[in-house]
C-alpha cells in the first residue's frame, strides 16, 4: 500500500512538491494547463485577477522546474503558448486527485458548516 521509504522521507518530499504546486498561483496554472496548451492571455483571464508580472514570474518558475514549456507560435503579433512538458504531464493525476478531494471537502466542511 505505502512504501516505507516514502513514509520516512515523507515530510521532506512533501516540501519538494509544495515548492511546485504551492503558493497562490502555481497549482492553479498547472490545473489550467491540464486541459491543454494555453496562451499567456488565456491564462491571465482564466485566473481571476493575476497581473502580467506575477503571471510571468510564476510561469518562469514552473519552466525552471521543467514542468511547463514556452513556445513561440507566431511572431508579430507574437503569440506564445504554454504547455506541460512530458514530465509535467505526470502531475496530472495528482492535480485531478486534488480536485476530487477538494470537491468532497467542499461538500463536507465548507458547505456542511
Amino acid at each position: 500500500m505505502m512504501k516505507v521509504t516514502s513514509k520516512e522521507q515523507g515530510a521532506l518530499v512533501v516540501a519538494d512538491v509544495l515548492e511546485i504546486i504551492g503558493g497562490k498561483w502555481r497549482g492553479l496554472i498547472l490545473a489550467k494547463l491540464c486541459d491543454g496548451p494555453k496562451r499567456f492571455n488565456e491564462l491571465k483571464l482564466g485566473l481571476r485577477k493575476v497581473t502580467s508580472s506575477t503571471l510571468t514570474k510564476e510561469l518562469r518558475h514552473l519552466e525552471e522546474l521543467k514542468m511547463i514549456e514556452r513556445a513561440v507560435v507566431q511572431k508579430s503579433p507574437i503569440v506564445v503558448e504554454y504547455r506541460m512538458t512530458t514530465h509535467g504531464e505526470t502531475i496530472k493525476q495528482l492535480i485531478y486527485q486534488m480536485i476530487d478531494w477538494g470537491l468532497e471537502h467542499r461538500k463536507k466542511v465548507i458547505e456542511g458548516k
Copy 2:
C-alpha cells in the same frame, strides 16, 4: 476518467485544497500526522526548524479546517496530542500520492539535472 464538472471548477477547487496543504508547514504537518497522533514537541522536533509560535498558528489553522484535532492527554505536566479527524484521514491518499510523485520528480528532475 475525469468528471467534466471537476475539470471546469478545477482551478477554483485547487485553490481550496492549497489553502489546506499549501504554505510552508501545513502539508508537512499533515504528512507527519499520517503516521499517527503526535505530540506538540514531537511535531516541533520532526519539522526541522519551526518555532513554537509558528507551529501553534499552523495547528490552529488546521483545526479550524476540521483537518486535525487537539486532545489534552494529561495535565500537569500537560501532554497534548494532535491527530487527524475522521475527515482529515481522507486526505491521506492525497498526501501519499504527493510523496510518490515527489520521489519520482526528485529522481527525474532534481537528481537528473
